[in-house]
Each structure stands twice: as structure tokens, then as C-alpha cells.
Point group: C2
Chain length 141, copies 2
């Protein structure tokens, strides 16, 4: 189903990611410049009271952004305009994350476009939300 | 100045990033799993009407998140709870981005903590906002 004709209350096809790996966190640190040792070094994570290394919050935020942009990238002149994220829980190496989204609102705007508001969240393998929020997508008519 | 005692209306020290490089976009694609060719391949970007390769929107969002979390990472039990981002403009290889933030509100909450609301934005080397938004940080008392 295309995001162009999905109805309010309907859900996007969920997207399950490969398990988070320590190697991925190392790569993410390098690419983003965020070298905080709680994401890279077991000892350093324990010293600040964590059970072990946790993933960058921005990495799950990025997954949510991609989940939405993958829906619009095939549509010319459609784009993600806003992303609002709440950080609900920690993500650890080995976790399997699934991105979900449900259309909440479709609004015609004065510029002759349509805004689609999508409630989205990421759950881990235990069904706990680790990240939740809203995305707004702007579509041509 | 620590984020613990910064007053409403005051700004965080701005953070200027090294210039965006094509190599960084390649690494970011690998780490995040977002291999959309508009971020990697000049030809592919032109085919969809762009002037050339653009950076992942999620990369500038990540910079904004890091800019805030760097302020809180030295404070035990302080964390980023919300990040709301608007995508205002495109980022290209060679662009130099500066993250800025101004405290808008400090609120005591019922759980005996303090919430700090920060208006933040990223400007490029021409002074144009590429990303703007709000962050909420939760601080122990």
C-alpha cells in the first residue's frame, strides 16, 4: 500500500531491523562523531551505573526517520518535514527493533499539498517501546 | 557554564562541526543502513532533480541530539527525553554546520526533577537554518 492512499487509522507495513551489533555502534560512533564510551566500552558503561553498553539514542531515532522516508522516497516531491521523538527505553547490542507507524491525520494545506501525520514507535523483541513519536510528511496532490 | 545553572534566555556554547564529507555520508549509510543513492551517487541525485548529493537528514538530526547530550553526559542521572526536529534545508558535502541552543524554560516536575526546554538549530556556513527544533532535558535536583 502506498502512503499516497493509506487511510487514517491504517498502519504502515512494520519494518524489523537486523539485531543491533557492537560493530554497528562502533561504525555509528565513527560516522556521527559521537564517541561517548557508554556506547563502545563495557567497563565505561558499568562505571556510570549501566548494565553494559547501550546504543546511541540517535541511532533508534535514525531508524524511525528512515522507516518513514522509505515510504516517501519513491514519490517525487514528497518529503519528511518534522520528526518528534521521545526516548522511552535503552537499546542494547543483540536487541531486535521493529518500527511501526499508524496514520493519524491527513490535512490539505493552503499551498495545495497534503500533510500526513503518522504516530510511530520502535519496539524491542520484548514488545517494549524504546522510542516513540510523530512524523509529518508533506505530499504533492 | 554547566547546563545545571544556565538561565532562561541564555545560550549554550555553539558547536561547529568539521565540514561534511562524502566519505562521512558513505560511513553513515553503512552504519545506519540508509543506502538511498541520493546520499552517495552524484548521478542518482541529479536524476531526481537535485543539484548533487545531499546529506542524510538524520545525520543533522543526530548532530543536534549530540550537541544536547554532550551538555548532559557529565551530569549523573541527566538525560535527553524529547527531540523535535524540523527539516528546513538541504546539507551538501563541504557544508560547515554549527549547532546552537537557547534555554527557553526550566520547570520543576512532580517527580522532584527539573525539565529544561532548549530551542536549538543548525546553521550552515551561509547562516541558513538547515534543521531547527526543541530538545527537552531531564535533570536531577
Amino acid at each position: 500500500m502506498s502512503i499516497l492512499d493509506i487511510a487514517v487509522g491504517e498502519s504502515l507495513p512494520p519494518l524489523t531491523r537486523p539485531p543491533i551489533s557492537q560493530e554497528q555502534l562502533r561504525r555509528y560512533a565513527e560516522a556521527s562523531g559521537d564517541h561517548n564510551p557508554i556506547h563502545l566500552d563495557e567497563e565505561a558503561a558499568r562505571r556510570v551505573g549501566l548494565d553494559g553498553v547501550i546504543a546511541h539514542g540517535m541511532l533508534s531515532m535514525a531508524f524511525l526517520g528512515q522507516f518513514i522516508t522509505q515510504q516517501v522516497s519513491a514519490i517525487p516531491d514528497a518529503y519528511l518535514t518534522h520528526l518528534h521523538v521521545r526516548f522511552n527505553g535503552m537499546v542494547r547490542p543483540g536487541d531486535v527493533l521493529t518500527c511501526q507507524g499508524t496514520v493519524q491525520e491527513r490535512t490539505r494545506t493552503n499551498d495545495g499539498r497534503e500533510h500526513l501525520s503518522i504516530a510511530c514507535r520502535i519496539e524491542n523483541q520484548n514488545g517494549n517501546a524504546v522510542t516513540s513519536g510523530e512524523a509529518v510528511v508533506s505530499l504533492p496532490q
